[in-house]
């Protein structure tokens, strides 16, 4: 059966959505994510949707749901890499995804999560500014 992989990166989970979502896949993903957080004690969840070109209210609600479930289990969720067209569509659908944090890229999302108190910091990319 088709399945969206949930990868473990230290204390974080990385989920990259690259296929069209449908009911079954979303339910499976929710189950996987909650189980992994419980198993591995993850403190953060990164959902990369940079390759999603089309969204509907269903995907919007799924993102909200995963964020809410993770929060109950003690993990912070960051949605990263949303395309402009996707953002516009979600706003037009009236879904502003309250309670979901967002970042421009996976790297920025990791920084956000580690900065939120997951233990260690990654190398800052701001160093070139000082040069």
């Amino acid at each position: 059966m088709e399945r969206i992989p949930v990868l473990r990166m230290g204390s974080l989970l990385l989920i990259t959505i690259q296929v069209d979502m449908h009911d079954k896949l979303a339910m499976q993903l929710q189950e996987d994510v909650t189980a992994r957080i419980a198993d591995w004690g993850s403190t953060g969840v990164l959902i990369d949707i940079s390759s999603l070109e089309i969204v509907d209210s269903f995907i919007g609600r799924m993102l909200s749901n995963i964020a809410a479930m993770s929060r109950v289990l003690g993990a912070e969720t960051v949605v990263v890499g949303m395309q402009p067209a996707v953002a516009i569509t979600l706003v037009e659908l009236g879904m502003s995804l309250p309670g979901v944090r967002t970042a421009l890229s996976v790297e920025a999302g990791m920084e956000l999560l580690y900065g939120a108190g997951a233990g260690f910091r990654t190398g800052s990319d701001d160093e070139r500014d000082e040069a």
Binding site: V79, P84, A87, I88, T102, A103, L104, A108, G109
Partner: protein, 299 residues
Amino acid sequence: MNDLAEVISRNQDEIRSAWIRDMSQSVQRSDLMSKTELDEQCGTLLSAIVAGARSSGPSEISGPGWAQARELLETISASRARQGFSPTEVATFVLSLKQPLFTAIRRDLTKEQNRLFDTVWAATELLDRLALLTTETFMSAREELISRQQQELLELSTPVVKLWDGILALPIIGTLDSARTQVVMENLLQTVVSTNSKFAIIDITGVPTVDTLVAQHLLKTITAARLMGAECIISGVRPQIAQTIVHLGINLEDVTTRARLSDAFALALKMSGRTVVRQATAAAASSAILAGPLAKLES
């Protein structure tokens, strides 16, 4: 039936000079076009009318015989629309042909009442149709001009500028309506992605009024940017606008707002973990900057 064509071709030069004389009394715009140009236009148009009336009859101006006359009139009318003639002036260009034409018809057919009446009627009908065609072309040329300008304005008025690495500014000039918001939003989000910017400052100094609709458009843009992971700051909120926002009960609680663009920029720098430090006093700094090139010049 083709009396009209014959009358015109017999008296072509006379009609043309009377026509131009008529126009020069009423609507000729010597500031917009020269007399020789007008003379030439009248001449070719008259010949085209004769050709059209001969081949397709005077009332069928949509027929193939009138193609040349139609094309000529459309060109003339479109060029006049661009030159800035008024609709009356353009329509009168054709309508002032009436009197010289009627004079010629009366002189040629004065002995035959029936043919005279028929020809006058055909001429009236023809000129009315030509005038309508002129006005229509004039209008569509104007509309095309307006819509092109609107499009240009839309594209010109929504620049997204990069203030710093990771900080964008979006100065909005003019009223925000749905069409503009769409363009602004797309521009902003596209630039956020291409420059990987975490902060966007929306400056509304140039927005004359903020009502509930404009506020809603702004909030939409901000939400879309937030969904992508960029944070928006609204700047340039004038005192009156702040009052209006509160009186209208618009909720901007979740949005960071600042009075001036500089304040917003300072905030964005601070939020991205940067500080601006003055290295030396202004005088010392400027002399140090100037000393470099001057020293080179001397040596």
